[in-house]
């Protein structure tokens, strides 16, 4: 079965780039433009992994993570934070809020692939 990845980013361009890389890594990709949309998508059909941006309208990445923590899943999606916020405080906050991994933008295919391997979905 193909692994599924939800790309959450308010930038259409970033979503497109991520989708392209993920498809070459054999993921079935879906997209969400903000945290709320992402939460709805996870409730409806939880993906294997979520690639999550930090700054988004409606619901930020961190708020999404906290909300997701309240939900019941048979298999909680793995969360990879993927943002331009590269300060150590941001990274710590993301990990504390429940992210499994963290990718700093810009990234390449190998980096992303290595992160998926680390969370066990590659």
């Amino acid at each position: 079965m193909m692994k599924t990845c939800l790309v959450v980013d308010d930038s259409k361009v970033i979503r497109k780039v991520a989708r392209h890389i993920l498809e070459t890594l054999d993921f079935a990709v879906s997209e969400a433009g903000d945290g709320q949309e992402a939460l709805d998508a996870c409730r409806a059909d939880a993906p294997d992994v979520v690639l999550l941006d930090w700054n988004m309208p409606v619901m930020s990445g961190i708020e999404f993570l906290r909300a997701l923590g309240q939900e019941e899943f048979t298999q909680r999606p793995k969360i990879i934070f993927c943002t331009t916020e590269n300060g150590i405080a941001h990274i710590r906050a993301a990990i504390d809020a429940g992210a499994d991994e963290y990718v700093m933008k810009p990234f390449d295919r190998e980096t992303l692939q290595s992160k998926f391997e680390l969370v066990g979905v590659a």
Partner: protein, 285 residues
């Protein structure tokens, strides 16, 4: 930018003599891209002229710089994650039992490039303080390239390098952020030594319980590879462990090592046949 066959042959000869690496004609495009910065630095109009200058010996360091430019330093943390997990559980588990008395382990990352492999090993040990408490773990990283070794020693990585393969938890625990760069913590750097060493030469002194020689031997000719395997074997105890790169094998390249079936991707020294040699058969005639 074109380079002539003759000039490629000269460079290939130089590279093989100094490093053991072979330069196939198919990698010619790499030669051109790799040497372009040197053309700019020395204001040379063509690659052929640059090679001429190397041969003339007018600029003594030019040959070294050309070699450096032709080397591939590609590496990243936890390269082949599955293999490192195997090493951690199976390989090091076994050595932990075998060295319970001396509590000493020596590890050699041969062809360590900019140090990610050696620091990966250091982190693997640091991850299990309860297992290694009271042990002396000596990790040595060596590379032919002085530039790579200097970078490894500094332990400083760009944002791009730091996140290739490295789990975020390790990055937070073992590295310090310094504006755009990340530096291995003093504690981590204290556990690893680096020095310049050519694999064609006699190995560093002493025996190494674990040797990693990964993604280095693949560009060597069969003869040189055989020689290097022999040298590595001579630097390992009978129960030592050799780890190669993901696509590499000893099979068909040396009879000094055999696959280690308990630790996938690793090799052990071939145990000398314990049977006594047969007496020569008397000639019946």
């Amino acid at each position: 930018m074109e380079i002539s066959d003759g000039a490629v042959r000269i460079l290939a000869g130089l590279l093989t003599a100094r490093t053991g690496q072979q330069l196939s004609v198919g990698r010619r495009w790499r030669v051109e891209t790799a040497l372009r910065p040197l053309l700019v630095r020395y204001a040379m109009p063509t690659l052929d002229l640059l090679v001429g200058k190397i041969v003339s010996g007018e600029v003594p360091q030019l040959a070294d710089e050309a070699i450096e430019a032709l080397l591939n330093h590609e590496t990243f943390f936890f390269r082949d994650l599955a293999a490192f997990r195997q090493l951690e559980t199976q390989g090091l588990g076994r050595l932990h039992a075998a060295r319970a008395e001396s509590k000493r382990l020596r590890v050699w990352s041969a062809g360590c490039s900019t140090g990610q492999e050696a620091y990966t090993l250091a982190m693997i040990f640091a991850d299990r303080p309860e297992r290694w408490a009271g042990w002396t773990i000596d990790i040595l990283g060596t590379d032919l390239s002085p530039t790579a070794v200097a970078r490894a020693r500094a332990g400083r990585y760009s944002q791009f390098e730091i996140q290739r393969g490295l789990p975020i938890g390790h990055m937070l625990r073992c590295f310090d952020q310094q504006s755009d760069e990340w530096q291995a913590s003093q504690a981590l750097r204290d556990t690893v030594r680096f020095r310049v060493h050519n694999l064609l030469a006699v190995p560093p002194a002493g025996l190494f319980d674990v040797v990693l020689c990964r993604n280095v031997l693949l560009y060597f000719s069969a003869d040189v590879r055989g020689l290097v395997f022999g040298r590595i074997a001579s630097a390992m105890p009978a129960d030592g462990l050799l780890m190669l790169g993901a696509g590499e094998t000893v099979i068909g390249h040396t009879d000094r090592f055999v696959s280690d079936y308990e630790c996938r991707g690793c090799y052990r020294k071939r145990v000398e046949d314990p049977r006594p040699a047969l007496a020569p058969i008397a000639d019946e005639s």
